[in-house]
Subunit: 400 residues, 2 copies
């Protein structure tokens, strides 16, 4: 690809984009095992795009506001702030204005990204001048609609052996997810809330709900080891399960903050992945995102929903059904029947497409943070996405 | 443990016990990556027991009969042959007569092992002299009862993203698993058989149904490499996915057969894991094994059903329900509520126990052949089993 055609991709995880997206998922560097430096991520998405990471909403990671009321925020404000940021960014870097723009994210970015796309499309409709050149939207394990995403977690627990038949039956009997709300007590009956609490108790504290097959990192041991200048890398299923602690340690080093021009205002708290200062609207979690996805697709912008299949937090079971229901609403036919897709001769996951516009794909062996657990397959998926191609349906080219 | 107290365990997988159980699962040696030698399995179950592997039914692996009618066989004959073998073996090795005997197996050994236990218990009832000192029965991913085990496969496919909502709905609508039979056409309607065929087509040929997260080995490439004296070890999720081919190559070496005193009669076929000469009764697959498990438990012999949670062939979903139903039939109460069990500070899986006698446990990250994919966790589980202890419910002792 000629340099000037390389697209721009904006990526947000639910919290800090720099800490999450950039430094433990799809960026060119990961924290080193001693928490005091970086190592190269050979599967960075920057192989096929320019990557743009923005700390959003303001208040996550090292981002801040000097107006404390800014921390009382929600989905609308988040989208609007990002829109204004992008206008400013394109002004400063006009050479990127005409390039393809892809919007991507995961988890709660199932809210951020479609709402941002909606704001940018509204701008495009009204603007006589500059228009955002949006060419695609891809969201991974995204929170889309509670009435399906929430029961999916318990279906996932049950089908993966993490809760018993009995407690699953109790949840199905006691809970009406139609009116489930994002914040506690979720507008549910006592019997429902009790059953859910019991289910979470059975899953326990020693399972990573974002990747149920992974071993867990013992933070107290690892933080001690990092202070003692040890290498703490602990590999489970090919993943360094302590990477988030290495990251935490790294971002809290004064010299790192200095180099990143971060925390110049000497905030009274350390770096964390999310934010303790934000007072984020819990009501916004109830928003049904499907109409926004519909609007995006109606503008002929392809939407991909992908799903790491080891995640119980926003599991494939919900996302898959929601995409199918959206396709039904839009009158779309199946254009790629549900089938395996391939990466380097192995099954990368399963994929289906509707109306040549709307794609649902699983990533086999991937977590909630898809590029974290499966960097290679995730780069394969992303490459097809930005090239506007379907995922490969044959084993060719074969394995390495 | 003093030498004379170390128990004896008989282990059968569905096919060759030497090829399967001994040389790729729980025995002290695995085939080497070049298919021309062995390497040590540090997690062999012989750390806590004597292991007995018998090629059963006759005709699997290198075992044979010189009476071809012996190959027309079934469950009853298999159990009876093994009973007679054991009587002969105890005669030859009387020092093992008084030791605890544990019966274990996996897959179709869900039929073999309970039926063998039944024959041995009948012997014990009648015998005035020698009695088999059976102290426990443990079966992994066992075929127990078709009306639950078969739909469990499709529930597993669906919940793991391997088939679509639509095809799962079609199976649920079209199939009545109450009367499902082991052999084709399974006594099902055309719509059911069509939906099942479609489901299997969607899962495809490049997924290991026995461990759905694993990459697959490309046999043609690997057999070529083995002939060229290469090391072919291909690791996926910590497992050498080509081990079964290394085994195949190894057992077909003339010097290996010579050393094992195998194939002295120059059989007109090569070694294989199962058997092409057997004409095994398909009807026997329909037998409901639960009443046999009940009889074993009624004799105060603990029964453990364990389940590698990555297996779609006989998935945990069926085994778990069947154990619960058996406990209900027997009027057992829950003596260990469904909860995580631990091995080296990590979740080994989930476990529940009924009436202090009947245990169901999953092994996290394990395949249909539990010790193959998770040797360490599997040894931990087996150690508790032979010691008559419950699986550890705390993280102590902590991780290495």
């Amino acid at each position: 690809m000629r340099q000037e055609y390389i697209p721009v991709i904006l990526f947000c995880p639910g919290c800090s984009s720099v800490g999450g997206g950039a430094f433990t998922e799809l960026g060119p560097f990961y924290p080193r095992g001693d928490g005091r430096g970086l190592r190269l991520n050979k599967k960075s998405w920057n192989k096929v795009s320019n990557l743009l990471f923005v700390e959003s909403p303001a208040g996550v990671g090292w981002s801040y506001s000097n107006t404390s009321s800014d921390y009382k925020t929600g989905d609308t404000r988040t989208a609007d702030d990002m829109y204004r940021f992008l206008l400013g960014w394109y002004k400063k870097f006009p050479e990127y204005r005409s390039r393809s723009l892809f919007l991507s994210g995961e988890s709660y970015a199932g809210h951020y990204i479609p709402q941002l796309a909606d704001v940018l499309l509204t701008h495009n409709e009204k603007s006589k001048g500059f228009k955002f050149n949006i060419q695609g939207v891809a969201i991974g394990n995204p929170l889309l609609k509670l009435d399906r995403d929430v029961p999916a977690t318990f279906e996932y627990f049950w089908s993966h052996g993490m809760i018993s038949d009995e407690i699953f039956l109790a949840i199905n009997k006691g809970c009406d997810f139609e009116d489930y709300t994002f914040t506690n007590p979720h507008n549910e009956s006592k019997s429902c809330n009790d059953a859910i609490a019991e289910a979470n108790g059975i899953v326990g504290n020693y399972v990573n709900n974002y990747d149920v097959i992974l071993d867990v990192c013992y933070p107290s041991i690892v933080m001690q080891e990092l202070r003692l200048r040890k290498y703490v890398t602990k590999i489970s299923v090919g993943v360094d399960v302590c990477m988030t602690y290495e990251r935490f340690f790294y971002f809290n080093l004064p010299e790192v903050q200095h180099a990143l021009h971060a925390n110049r205002t000497h905030l009274p708290y350390g770096w964390s992945m999310c934010s303790d200062v934000l007072d984020y609207s819990g009501k916004d979690g109830n928003i049904n995102i499907l109409p926004l996805l519909q609007r995006i697709v109606e503008q002929k912008i392809p939407v991909w929903v992908f799903s790491g299949d080891q995640d119980s937090v926003v599991p494939l079971l919900g996302s898959r059904t929601l995409v199918r229901e959206l396709a039904h609403t839009m009158g779309f036919h199946v254009t790629v029947p549900y089938s395996t897709w391939f990466h380097k001769g192995q099954v990368g996951g399963w994929v289906t497409e509707y109306g040549n516009m709307l794609t649902f794909a699983t990533v086999r062996g991937a977590s909630h943070m898809v590029p974290f657990a499966q960097p290679d397959r995730s780069l394969g998926l992303f490459r097809s996405f930005v090239l506007g191609q379907r995922l490969p349906n044959t084993t060719h080219p074969p394995i390495d």
